[in-house]
C-alpha cells in the first residue's frame, strides 16, 4: 500500500514536470515561458526530494536543493533581468504554430514511451516510468529549441532539456553527487556564456531573432 503510494506520487510529480514542459510549448510570451520554466524546475526539485525520501539517499536532497536554488530561482531571475535589459519582452515568434508544436510534442511523448519501456524491461517499475517521463521532457526541450526563433527561448529549451536529464538521473539509483554538481555548474557557466552571447548578438545584428543570422551563416543567399 505504502509502496503503491510512493510510486503514485513519484509518477504524479514526474508528470507535473512533463506538463510544465508542455506549458512552455504552449506559451507565446517570453515572461510566461520563464515563469513556466521556473515552475518546472520547482517540480523537479520536488521530484528529487521525494526520490531522496523513497530511496533513503540523502545526497539526493542536495540535488533537490541545487535544482531549487539554481534552476528555479537563480536562472529565471537572471533571464528575467536579461530580457528586461535587452528590452525584448514582446510576443515570442514561433517557427511552427502552437497547435502543431503540441501535436508533435504528444507524438514525442508516445515515441519516448515506446522506446524506453521495451529497452528497460528488467528495471524496477518506478525507474522505468520515470525514465520514460524524463526522456519525454528531454525531447520536449529539444522541440522547444527547434521551434523557437528567439535566442532566449532557445536557451530556456536547453535548460528544460537539462531538467529532463536530472529527472532521469534522480530516478536511477546510485548516481554520485559529483555528476550532478558538475551538471549544475555547467548549466550556470552556460547561462553566463549565453548572457554574454545575447549582448554580442544584439550588438552585432540589432535583434535576437536568429532568423536574421541565417543570411550570414550561408543558409540563404
Amino acid at each position: 500500500m505504502l509502496q503503491q503510494f510512493s510510486y503514485d506520487l513519484a509518477h504524479l510529480i514526474g508528470a507535473t514536470v512533463l506538463m510544465a514542459g508542455f506549458g512552455m510549448l504552449y506559451q507565446r510570451r517570453i515572461f510566461a515561458v520563464l515563469n513556466t520554466f521556473a515552475f518546472q524546475a520547482f517540480a523537479l526539485a520536488a521530484a528529487a526530494a521525494w526520490q531522496a525520501h523513497v530511496q533513503h539517499a540523502p545526497h539526493l536532497y542536495a540535488t533537490a536543493a541545487i535544482a531549487l536554488v539554481f534552476k528555479a530561482l537563480l536562472v529565471p531571475f537572471a533571464l528575467h533581468w536579461l530580457v528586461e535589459r535587452l528590452g525584448i519582452h514582446r510576443t515570442v515568434e514561433t517557427a511552427l504554430s502552437i497547435g502543431w508544436t503540441m501535436i508533435v510534442g504528444v507524438a514525442l511523448v508516445a515515441l519516448s514511451i515506446l522506446l524506453v519501456l521495451p529497452v528497460t524491461a528488467k528495471a524496477a517499475a518506478l525507474t522505468r516510468e520515470s525514465l520514460a517521463l524524463a526522456m519525454s521532457v528531454v525531447l520536449l526541450g529539444m522541440l522547444m529549441m527547434i521551434t523557437r526563433r528567439n535566442a532566449v527561448t532557445q536557451v530556456v529549451g536547453f535548460m528544460a532539456l537539462e531538467n529532463g536529464l536530472i529527472l532521469a538521473a534522480v530516478s536511477a539509483k546510485g548516481m554520485p553527487l559529483v555528476v550532478e554538481i558538475s551538471i549544475a555548474f555547467s548549466v550556470l557557466v552556460a547561462m553566463t556564456l549565453f548572457g554574454i552571447f545575447f549582448f554580442r548578438i544584439r550588438e552585432r545584428f540589432d535583434t535576437l531573432d536568429l532568423h536574421y543570422l541565417e543570411t550570414y551563416r550561408g543558409d540563404r543567399s
Binding site: Q4, F5, D8, L9, H11, L12, A15, M19, F22, Y26, I98, G99, M102, I103, G105, V106, V109, A110, I113, L117, A125, R128, E129, A132
Partner: protein, 315 residues
C-alpha cells in the same frame, strides 16, 4: 421505487438550484471586482420578469425560431437529470452515459445555432459559426476524457464510475488529473465563460452565445437563459461526480446517506462555483483565433491521459 422518487427530486433540484449557482458566481465575481453586485437570487427575479413579458418574434422568423428555446432547454434539462448529483440510486442512471450526455448537449447547441441563423441577422450567423467552431473543438476533447475515464473504470456510465472510485480501487492516478484538467477546459468553453466567451458582454465583436440569442425576448429568452444556467450546474455536477464523488449516496444508503449526499453536493458546487468566479476574475478574454490552441490543449491533455494509462498498464 425509491429510485423514481430520487430521480424526480434530482429533476426538480437541477432546475431549482441552477439560477442560484449562476447568481452566486456573478455575486462572487462582483465582490472580487470591488462591486457590491446583485444578490445571488437575482436570476430568479430576472426569469420571473422575463416570463411576464411579451415575446416578440421577428417577421422573418420561422417555426424553428419559436421551437428552439424549448428544445434547447429540454435537452439540457434531460442531460442534467442524468448526471448524479447527490445519489447514484436513480431511475435514469442506467441510461446515463457520458457519450449520450455529449450527444444531448450537442442537440441543444445545434438548435441554438439554427435559431441564431433563422432570423437572418448578421450577428446570429456570426455567433452560430463561432459556437460551432468551439463545439467542433470541444466535443472531441470531451469524448477523449470519457474514453480515458472508461479505460480506468471500465464503463462510461457516471453512476458506475462513482461506484468504482468509491470502492477504493483507484489511487493517485495521473491520468485522472489530466482528464480533469481537460474536462474543466471543455466546461469553460461549453458554458461560454472567460477566457473563451464573456457571459456578461454585449460587445458585438467578442460575443458568441449572446450573439445567437440576440433576437429573443420574453418567455423564449427566459427558456434560453435557464438552459444556460442548467448547463453550468450540469458541468459543475459532472466534474464533482466524476472526480470527487466522495459523499455521494449509493443504492441502499438510506435517508442518512441521502442527507450526506445533499450536503456534499452543496459543498462541491460551492467550491467549484467560487473557483470559477475567481478564475474568471483573474484571467483575460482570449482572442477568437486562439480558441483552437486552448481547446486543442484540452484534447491533447485527454490524449496524454490515455497514453499514461497504457504506460501504467505496461509497467
Amino acid at each position: 421505487m425509491n429510485s423514481v422518487i430520487w430521480q424526480l427530486v434530482q429533476i426538480v433540484l437541477v432546475v431549482a438550484t441552477a439560477p442560484l449557482v449562476t447568481g452566486y458566481v456573478r455575486w462572487v465575481k462582483a465582490r472580487l471586482q470591488g462591486r457590491r453586485g446583485p444578490a445571488p437570487w437575482q436570476p430568479y427575479r430576472d426569469l420571473y420578469r422575463l416570463l411576464q413579458k411579451e415575446a416578440i418574434v421577428a417577421h422573418s422568423a420561422s417555426w424553428i425560431f419559436r421551437t428552439a428555446p424549448y428544445v434547447t432547454f429540454a435537452s439540457v434539462w434531460l442531460a442534467a437529470a442524468m448526471v448524479p448529483t447527490f445519489t447514484t440510486n436513480m431511475f435514469l442512471a442506467p441510461a446515463a452515459d457520458l457519450i449520450a450526455l455529449v450527444a444531448l448537449l450537442a442537440v441543444g447547441r445545434f438548435w441554438t445555432a439554427l435559431a441564431g441563423m433563422d432570423v437572418g441577422t448578421a450577428f446570429g450567423g456570426l455567433g452560430a459559426s463561432r459556437e460551432m467552431l468551439i463545439a467542433s473543438l470541444a466535443e472531441p476533447a470531451m469524448l477523449m476524457v470519457s474514453f480515458s475515464l472508461s479505460l480506468v473504470s471500465g464503463t462510461t456510465a457516471p453512476a458506475q464510475i462513482v461506484a468504482f472510485v468509491l470502492s477504493g480501487n483507484v489511487g493517485i492516478e495521473v491520468s485522472l488529473g489530466l482528464a480533469m484538467a481537460a474536462l474543466v477546459m471543455v466546461a469553460i468553453a461549453e458554458n461560454g465563460r472567460i477566457p473563451i466567451d464573456n457571459p456578461a458582454t454585449h460587445l458585438e465583436l467578442t460575443m458568441v452565445h449572446e450573439a445567437m440569442v440576440l433576437e429573443y425576448s420574453g418567455r423564449h429568452l427566459a427558456m434560453i437563459e435557464v438552459a444556460a444556467m442548467v448547463r453550468l450546474t450540469l458541468f459543475i455536477a459532472l466534474i464533482g461526480c466524476l472526480f470527487a464523488p466522495w459523499g455521494m449516496a449509493q443504492p441502499g444508503g438510506g435517508p442518512v446517506g441521502i442527507m450526506v449526499g445533499m450536503g456534499a453536493f452543496v459543498a462541491k458546487s460551492f467550491v467549484l462555483a467560487t473557483a470559477l468566479a475567481w478564475f474568471e476574475t483573474a484571467i483575460a478574454k482570449m482572442r477568437v483565433f486562439r480558441y483552437a490552441d486552448f481547446l486543442g490543449g484540452a484534447l491533447l491533455l485527454g490524449l496524454l491521459a490515455t497514453i499514461f494509462l497504457y504506460v501504467s498498464e505496461a509497467v
